[in-house]
């Protein structure tokens, strides 16, 4: 780890809504969103990852094997308010599309911002999972989101 990162390292415990928790290291270091790419993943109806594209693997810092079968909340950064994800689930479980700006936690503790869109995968009238596509957000939207999320935590 570069020396300058050591100043802003936090070891924390992240608690998830399903009662599980994990220890994580969080660094105050942003990884820039890769130009021109979309981060794509799919989950089952419980949020378990069933597909991850190469951009997702590269940006998350996990291997594809580590991601598949894991709950998508492994990407959740502690700076994100729980209410944002409650809104996401409420929207997609009702069969609608959700858009939002999300700060994601990488395996190495650094973070990256995305503009995320999640839609239900409907086959023969039944929701069988969800597709999430993330793209590069503008700095102004990141600043607005940071300010908003601070008030919601």
């Amino acid at each position: 780890m570069p020396e300058h990162d050591m100043k802003d390292v936090r070891d924390i415990v992240i608690n998830y809504h399903d009662g599980t928790s994990r220890k994580a290291t969080v660094l105050d270091r942003e990884v820039p969103y890769p130009e021109g790419k979309l981060i794509v993943s799919r989950t089952d109806t419980q949020g378990i990852i069933t597909h991850a594209n190469q951009a997702f693997v590269e940006m998350s810092g996990y291997t594809e094997e580590e991601l598949i079968g894991t709950n998508h909340y492994i990407l959740r950064h502690p700076d994100m308010p729980a209410v944002a994800f409650a809104g996401l689930w409420e929207t997609i479980e009702a069969g609608n599309k959700w858009h939002g700006y999300v700060k994601n936690l990488r395996k190495d503790g650094a973070y990256y911002w995305v503009k995320a869109t999640v839609i239900p995968n409907i086959r023969n009238g039944v929701v069988v999972g969800y597709t999430s596509v993330r793209r590069k957000p503008s700095r102004s939207k990141i600043s607005e989101s940071e300010a908003l999320y601070k008030t919601l935590r």
Partner: protein, 249 residues
């Protein structure tokens, strides 16, 4: 029976004859008449597709979404190693170095290609630009997009990557690329209408084997394709779901 075939109008003009050669090849393979109709305008083609004029459509990804979800078409095959990618380019002397250097009021030039324009607008989002604070000139072809960029009538142009790659070296040497998409999983597909689904296995099989013989390969070459691979229903649904996430409504 005659199959009515149409092709998304976003291929380079050099390959028009290739699609007519493909039409003849397909007729021989299927032992039935195939009538090819080409368009130079996406909207006119879309209206005719919606009115039920075509049985077989080589569609861009955004139209494929409409064909499957609204009209019950099924994807048979996709071209091998030919994802649809978008390039945003500017004049080589432009002070712009990246998309974020563009400001509200930016002048864009594009064709009416729906997938390139959508992906292009998504790649402008990091600059807080959208249709409400940019001005787009729509032209008929990517060569004209390039001319507008070179004449500085627009700050940037949107290109289908394939079309950009086929511009002359002289034109390309006078432009610079600000951003190029790397999406990989969005591509054209050949789709069959619901009433002719019984022919799907035969058409699919002949197309997948097309690159196996010399005649088939030369037809593919004239269309600038390497070959075809099967597109499963779930792969089609996945691509359409992905495209759905890129539409903001």
């Amino acid at each position: 029976m005659t199959l009515n075939l149409t092709v998304s109008p976003d291929f380079a003009p050099d390959h028009i004859s290739g699609w007519f050669i493909f039409n003849t090849w397909l007729q021989r393979q299927l032992g039935t008449g195939v009538h090819l109709e080409l368009y130079d305008c996406f909207d006119a083609q879309r209206q005719d597709i919606k009115s039920g004029k075509f049985d077989l459509v080589y569609a861009n990804p955004f139209d494929a979404s409409m064909l499957v979800r609204e009209l019950g078409f099924k994807a048979l095959v996709r071209p091998i190693s030919k994802p649809d990618e978008t390039i945003i380019a500017t004049h080589k002397d432009s002070p712009l170095q990246c998309v974020e250097d563009l400001k509200p009021g930016a002048q864009l030039v594009a064709t009416d290609d729906p997938d390139v324009n959508r992906i292009g607008m998504i790649m402008l989002e990091p600059a807080d630009l959208d249709q409400t604070n940019t001005e787009t000139t729509t032209v008929d072809s990517y060569v004209i997009v390039a001319k507008n960029v070179l004449n500085k009538n627009a700050e940037v142009g949107f290109f289908l990557k394939d079309a950009y790659d086929e511009l002359s070296d002289l034109i390309k040497s006078q432009m610079k690329i600000l951003v190029s998409s790397e999406i990989s999983v969005v591509h054209h597909t050949l789709l069959l209408c619901p009433k002719l689904q019984k022919y799907a296995p035969k058409i699919q099989q002949r197309l997948v084997k097309m690159a196996d013989d010399e005649k088939g390969r030369s037809v593919l070459e004239s269309m600038n394709l390497l070959g075809w691979e099967v597109m499963t229903e779930e792969e089609t649904e996945f691509m359409i779901d992905l495209i759905d996430t890129l539409l903001d409504e």
